[in-house]
Amino acid sequence: MTGIQIDTSRVPLQSWTILAHSFLQTGPASPALAAVQPTPTSSLRASEAATLPWPPSLEVQLFDNATQLKVSFSQIAMHLTPEWRTAIFEQLDFLLKPEDWQEDSALIEVPTFLTFLRFLIFVAPNRLPSLGVSPNGNVLAAWLKGDERIIVKFLPEDRAIATLIRQGTRGNEAVAWRGHVVDLKLFIERFGVRDCMSDGPT
């Protein structure tokens, strides 16, 4: 296939400027007849997203993580009171503060948060836990009351690792446990630290 060939040898040498210009009027004849703009095929949000920097900034990642956790909470934890919801959300926001972020901080893994929520619903403690985050992003929860402590690291798929501490006759006694969170409730009761999760004198 050959393109159109123009023999320029016969064209007189002049400093011509060639301007591309359409002589056909494409717009409406009258300004009153404004052209209808076609509806964009993509949503505004998608087009905006295309202009966002990648990877997202730390602030965006932390905000997204907190949002994911709160949405998960709202889907599973309708059994918890508004006070619990507020206290847990405030702790999540504290743990994911951009200004407190350090090199060994971690985003919270949603599956471990779901395990934590299922444990809360199953055990139904009436004392709020303190929350933390492990270096791997696992949710940590602690109930402290006097010399008694329940410290749990929640894992995905309803698994957990716990340490229980109580006052023995000659000093503190500690045991470590790992397994399914359903069995953790029984283990806490057997070890005699269930009171740690209940209101009352500390």
């Binding site: 206290a87 702790q91 504290f94 743990l95 503060k97 200004e99 407190d100 350090q102 090199e103 060994d104 901080s105 971690a106 709020l128 836990p129 303190s130 929350l131 933390g132 985050v133 492990s134 270096p135 940590l140 602690a142 402290l144 402590r149 410290i151 690291k153 690792i161 340490t163 501490i165 503190n172 500690a174 470590a176 790992r178």
Partner: protein, 158 residues
């Protein structure tokens, strides 16, 4: 043949009666769920990171004999190396209890002085399991060996 630089004389371990400070980021300090007052540290604050051979601490008696200046000078020393945010915490642990907790769990723990002019008071807890598999040891460090925990915000309060 040129002789190499002479080896540095082995420094004694941190004495059992003394204390070491461990910096805990805001996610590793146990806080009251409502008031946010620091109540302790999570066992995970004592996990070794990948490729870390010892647990970084600061020998508190290296700086002063009084506890308040010890905390302040530890924060100052840490700030030379890294960011220390006000919501992070400093845990004060007894050296003798650390060694005792190690032997209880079958580990020979040592707290070695690694201080230098650029990093005064810096020390390391050696002999910790590299894979952080001993949950009980980490729990003992957090609950039994930890004498006191202070938020950096409180340490620096006028």
């Amino acid at each position: 043949m040129a002789r190499g630089k002479p080896k540095q004389a082995r420094r004694p371990d941190v004495p059992p009666a003394d204390h070491v400070a461990r910096h805990c980021n805001p996610q590793r300090a146990i806080r009251h769920p409502v008031t946010r007052q620091v109540q302790g540290v999570w066992p995970e604050a004592f996990e070794l990171r990948v490729n870390e051979e010892w647990l970084s601490v600061h020998w508190m008696e290296y700086f002063s004999t009084d506890i308040d200046p010890q905390f302040r000078k530890v924060v100052k020393a840490l700030r030379k190396k890294r960011d220390v945010v006000p919501n992070s915490a400093i845990a004060r642990l007894n050296a003798g209890l650390i060694v005792q907790a190690g032997s209880l769990r079958g580990h020979s723990l040592r707290i070695r002085d690694r201080s230098s002019t650029g990093d005064p008071g810096y020390s390391g807890i050696y002999g910790m399991p590299r894979d952080n598999s001993d949950t009980e040891l980490l729990a003992l460090l957090a609950s039994e060996c930890c004498i006191q925990v202070r938020a950096v915000r409180d340490i620096e309060a006028p």
